[in-house]
Amino acid sequence: MKLLELKDREWTLSDLDDGPGLLRVDNGQDLLESPPDLTGISVVRLDWPQFKLGQAFTQARLLRQRYGFEGQIRAGGAIFRDQAWHAARCGVTAFEIEDGAEDGWLESLHAYPYHYQRAVTGEAAWALRHGGSA
């Protein structure tokens, strides 16, 4: 496994390592109810036990937009490359991927030039249409 990670706005490949400061958040954990304890945490790993368990998209967005987490949000498990751009727009900044799979992941991450709605990253189409000022 490798880590495809957003560094200085570029997706870069590195070795996967679970250093200190890593928090694993369970897919079923309700972050609406309460935030996880983020003190001393630099990486939050979100889990997709199956690709269709989409709660983690909400978890990522809450971590970024409600709880102000600025470290790495990492996606692992059964998430597949065609879902990666959704996750990235919700605030995920690193993906655990199979060795040699990076070209496909990068292609998927860059498949869409525009987005309709405002999320964590990626300007909304309506903002672009009206000169970036909402």
Binding site: L32, Q65, W85, Y114, Q117
Partner: protein, 553 residues
């Protein structure tokens, strides 16, 4: 209607290119069918009994004449010469080959159409009133808000993998022609006491295995806060909706398990949180963008006409019936709304041939400002026809087999594809519809019976909306034998109700007789022709109908 700008075009084109790549990965074996399935499902591509089925989105049921011609060309070039209007106002093609699907999507894309989110556990094509912009009594054209929702929900990054599919319908008048009370979210445009426009928001309606009428979670939401409120509802659902059981995964189950009050509270609380992001983080649409989108739904250039006495003395009995059944009042004097029936006797309800699509597109150009609609009752509509043009339009429709004068009558049946196409089916639906049509073939008799909505589903998934049929027919499988369960009194209008099961299931050869008995009972008990079947049922209850059904059966 809405026209794509460069951003819309680039987004839809990107989806075509992406899907072309995914199909290539599937064809080379890089993707297994299991891995490919969620990808094709996000593009409306199902694997059915005999072949793939492609469901093309017709956002809120609105098409231009040129788009209809493109659908005709797809039917001709990639299918067996016809398409099928679904109960979500979409068009389905039952015979495309997988290798051709990227080319079909490209052809759609070139005509500003797509198949995005017509299947899968995501927010589906938003539906609306087929008379939008033509009927009297609208606060404004509901399609403005449908388009707002279409854009917001398209590739929404947080809500593309929900517990289950999610359906939204929007209407703008008190007369509900979009069945908003049986949708995951139903939205009604209205004004408050101060005359300001906004929305009533219903959540948790739906059909399927456990039918529910939606709950009002907000009686009035200011117009500019729609998207943040929808995000709050979807987020509560995405977090709390059940994923352990496919049959309990719809939002209606969540609303009922949490209780209406607790659910509403959770939504309102989440909405407050979202609003704390302030204007710089707001997901709501700025006024300038609302105005831009609204600009595409301005009224066509109606002529100043006077109403005519067009219903008086038609010289032809067929034309007279068509006028009384298929022509509805328009908001402008001198105009009328025409329902084009896709329910001729003996055809699959909702089917339309490529030649008919082309003919209808020409008629839309000539008589209806190039505007065509699809309806959730599996018909089509020409929304803006001059009353003076009605005789010529009727003649032209009749010539191409689209002149059936049966809108809303016993032969205007909604039926799901059933065992003829669908791999989940218990029973056939289309042949049952055809047999009922045949029994009531006499147009005079149909007219005498008046409005009667029969809806048929081939299994409990209820794609044929049987729960909201005045007479609902559900196919069930009992020990390998096909049976049909009859429900009565359902309706999807402003007084929405779920039909009651009246008794034990009926064998295939008893169904048509049963419908006839119900109709005869109604005819003998109604106070007069102005009391419709559904009104009589409301007054009398199920008893007399049950008696008629089971006393001799």
């Amino acid at each position: 209607m809405y026209q794509y700008d460069d951003i819309d075009k680039a987004i839809v084109q990107a989806r075509v290119d992406e899907f072309r790549g995914q199909v290539a990965r599937r064809l080379t074996g890089e993707l297994t069918e299991d891995q490919f399935k969620p990808l094709r499902l996000q593009n409306g591509l199902y694997l059915q009994l005999h072949a793939y089925m492609l469901r093309v989105a017709i956002p809120y049921g609105t098409l231009s004449a040129d788009q209809l011609r493109v659908l005709a060309s797809i039917a001709r070039d990639y299918d067996k010469g016809y398409g099928h209007v679904s109960t979500r106002q979409n068009m389905q093609f039952n015979w495309p080959a997988l290798v051709n699907v990227p080319d079909i999507l490209q052809r759609l894309c070139d005509a500003e159409m797509h198949a995005i989110q017509t299947s899968g556990n995501c927010i589906r094509n938003v539906t609306s009133d087929p008379f939008a912009g033509a009927a009297a009594g609208e606060v404004e054209d509901p399609r403005i808000w449908c388009e707002v929702i279409r854009q917001w929900s398209t590739f929404h990054p947080e809500f593309a993998f929900l517990p289950r599919k999610f359906k939204i319908a929007v209407t703008a008048s008190d007369e509900d022609r979009a069945a908003i009370q049986v949708h995951d979210i139903g939205i009604q445009l209205r004004t408050n006491d101060a005359g300001e426009p906004g929305f009533r928001i219903l959540v948790g309606g739906g059909l399927g295995r456990t039918p529910y009428i939606g709950h009002v979670v907000r009686d009035f939401l200011p117009r500019d806060q729609l998207l943040s409120y929808l995000e709050a509802i979807l987020r509560v659902y995405n977090v709390h909706g059940r994923r352990d059981n496919l049959f309990k995964a719809r939002i209606k189950i969540l609303v009922n398990e949490m209780g209406e009050e607790a659910f509403t509270h959770a939504v309102e609380q989440e909405w407050e949180e979202i609003r704390k992001l302030g204007p710089s983080g707001s997901v709501d649409l700025p006024e300038a963008e609302r105005a831009r989108i609204a600009g595409f739904f301005r009224e066509p250039d109606f002529a100043a006409l006077d109403d005519t006495d067009f219903r008086a003395d038609p010289d032809d009995a067929g034309y007279a019936r068509w006028l009384s059944r298929n022509v509805s009042a328009h908001k402008r004097p001198g105009y009328a709304i025409v329902t084009v029936s896709l329910k001729p006797e003996g055809e699959a309800p909702g089917d339309i041939t490529a030649d008919q699509m082309d003919a209808l597109a020409d008629l839309a150009d000539r008589y209806s400002f190039s505007d065509v609609r699809t309806t959730h009752e599996q018909n089509m509509v020409l929304p803006h026809v001059r009353q003076a043009d009605l005789p010529a339009l009727y003649a032209a429709l009749s010539e191409t087999g689209l002149g059936s004068a049966n809108a809303g009558l016993v032969s205007d049946i909604i039926a799901c594809p059933g065992l003829d196409y669908c791999n989940l089916a218990n029973t056939r639906s289309i042949p049952v519809a055809n047999r009922i049509q045949k029994r009531f073939s006499d147009p005079v008799r149909q007219a005498e019976v008046g409005e009667l909505k029969i809806k048929i589903s081939g299994c409990i998934n209820a794609c044929g909306h049987h729960h909201v049929g005045h007479i609902g027919i559900l196919g069930v499988d009992k020990k390998g034998e096909e049976f049909y369960q009859v429900t009565l009194g359902g309706r999807a209008d402003a007084e929405a109700a779920i039909g009651e099961i009246v008794g034990r299931g009926l064998a295939t050869d008893q169904v048509v007789d049963a419908v006839e008995k119900l109709v005869d009972t109604y005819l003998s008990l109604r106070t007069g022709p102005e009391e419709r079947f559904i009104d009589a049922y409301k007054r009398l209850g199920a008893e007399p109908f049950k008696e008629a059904l089971y006393e001799t059966a």
